[in-house]
Symmetry: C2
Subunit: 353 residues, 2 copies
């Protein structure tokens, strides 16, 4: 049996981030250096988070890792790259290294999850990638009215993985190169301005344009990559008609490497937009699990708005909605009960879902 | 009653053309001058054609026009632009004017239907558009093995009209401008080479890439334009997997401003590809009308190929197929019985469909 004194465990939670200026394509595959800078919104961990426990003990015989309860090969290159960087950090223990450089080596966009609020990942210029790091554009308390809805869509087709997809795009899409070099720099500056000034219509329009341009470069890839399905397209149409009805841009969509929509809106519009989603995508009869996360007051959809939308309801096109908001960066949890690993260094039995 | 001598009628048929390097966007709305050159294949009129009768008589009191049996306003600007040009031509009767300039004034891409075979519409440089004309790259007998399949897909969403769609793209898509200026010139040259050398893999790959890039610029338009639905996407996937199975590019797709696919292949591959479409999109029980046009011998799909495709059959995703080939330009019909207009200048009753 291991002795208590030799065992140290730390448990952290990290947030999910959603890019509003998209990252797609690397200029260096090993160092994970991006073709262009990107900018994301960190989502609140009350609704979505990852939890990680790291444990060390003099009684442990080897390095082992589990993801979602499944043991993974600790020798795989990306994991080794992260561990190497972290050991590096351990050597300079007490001096704070730039963790976003470590995170980048695991998964590029993960480096944007190291801060709360609004985060930019600068592409950097150096060949060794030391300047390709994330920094906070504005904190999680900067724009308290902003709300986020995740519309989970059923996917029939298995989407192309983003690592392979990006490689194919870099090799074959002329539009991607042009976007990265000629268009993204101005978009980064404009997006930062919209966030700083809390200019929702500007933020919303550019968010939609950048999502569309990212998916355009996927379609320009050969063979083409398609993440948007008919339900995604209907959500896009719904958003544009909703905005047209109101005569202003009150809602924005963005899509990553899959058909789910992430919607940005303001507090005062969330209830009406959720009602409209419910109208166009009626949930199962037992629809009480349709909305998760932040509470949203049910409101009616006016006949006038229904007429502008002019969309036939498609039952179950959207499986459920998660309502959330902007949130903080990673958190260290104090309660020892939250550790995912026991004193034997193995995953604890997980509670039934 | 009009006297026979005063009545003159001419009936022509004109072909449909399918662009393999796409036209999208005008640099001059009134003259219909395109942002870039385009290149198309003229389809055979045995399967698809338009029929037009023009009649003049000293007894007629006014200009009138019918489209598909419905009378249209003869004063509408595009029609007037065509008629003005044609009068122009009448004055120089006996001297052949460039008809493609006339056709362009009606609908840009229509000018490519004035020739058979493979036709280029040069964008031209002049402000008055006199050099924005079509010419034949290769005749209809140049590549006799080439076959065309039109896969008619049911559309739920009403597509954006191409005139308005193009205007919005020109105003909002940075990728469209880049494509037109920086990418299309090299693509035009490469496509002409593929056609001249009957290089099917080269022709097929570039055809698919250009279709995808056109739809990418539609998606980059704001609000975005989407012509491809889930069935279109499945057809694209089917083509790529079919080619992967054979280890060579034996089939190509292209899509215009709607979800229907136009497939290019060679004579020796047509039967197998039709069988594969039938496998993935099983027709109605009474499937004898599924294939129209050129006869295609039924062949089985190997289990091996079915395994590579790995696609669940979607009944009725494709409504029917028209099998056709490359064909000649407009034809004047000699038989007076084919005139659509009677001696009174009014449309003849049309035979029941």
């Amino acid at each position: 049996m291991p002795s208590d004194e030799s065992f140290v465990a730390v448990t952290c939670t990290a947030p999910v981030n959603i890019a509003v200026i998209k990252y797609w394509g690397k200029r260096d595959e090993e160092l994970i250096l991006p073709l262009n800078s990107s900018l994301s919104v960190t989502l609140h961990q009350d609704q979505l988070r990852t939890t990680t426990t790291a444990a060390i003990s003099r009684d442990f015989l080897e390095d082992r890792i589990w993801l979602n309860g499944q043991e993974e090969d600790v020798e795989q290159p990306r994991l080794q790259a992260c561990l190497r960087e972290t050991y590096t950090l351990a050597r300079i223990y007490g001096v704070e290294g730039d963790l976003s450089e470590v995170a980048r080596r695991g998964s590029g966009s993960a480096c944007r999850s190291l801060y709360g609020g609004f985060v930019e990942w600068q592409m950097g210029q150096r060949a060794d990638g030391r300047d390709s790091v994330a920094w906070q554009v504005a904190s999680e308390s900067h724009w308290p009215q902003l709300r986020v809805l995740i519309l989970v869509v059923s996917a029939e087709r298995k989407p192309t993985g983003s690592t392979v997809g990006m490689q194919t795009s870099v090799q074959t899409s002329d539009l991607l190169k042009f976007r990265a070099e000629a268009l993204v720099p101005a978009r980064m500056a404009e997006m930062a301005r919209c966030i700083q000034e809390r200019d929702f219509p500007g933020f919303a329009k550019l968010t939609m344009q950048d999502s569309n341009q990212f998916h355009a470069t996927c379609l320009d890839t050969f063979p083409p990559i398609s993440y948007l399905n008919d339900t995604s397209q209907r959500i896009m149409q719904l958003v544009h008609r909703f905005n047209a009805h109101h005569g202003q841009t009150k809602v924005a969509y963005t899509f990553d490497a899959g058909p789910n929509a992430v919607i940005f809106t303001l507090e005062d519009t969330m209830a009406e937009f959720v009602a409209v989603v419910r109208h166009v995508f009626p949930p199962e009869a037992n629809g009480d699990k349709f909305l998760k996360g932040l509470p949203v007051t049910p409101v009616p959809v006016s006949d006038d708005l229904k007429a502008t939308l002019a969309m036939e309801p498609v039952p179950r096109g959207v499986q459920y909605i998660i309502a959330t908001q902007v949130g903080p960066g990673p958190q260290v949890l104090d309660d020892p009960d939250v550790h995912l690993l026991g004193q034997d260094g193995l995953p604890k039995p997980r509670p039934a879902a």
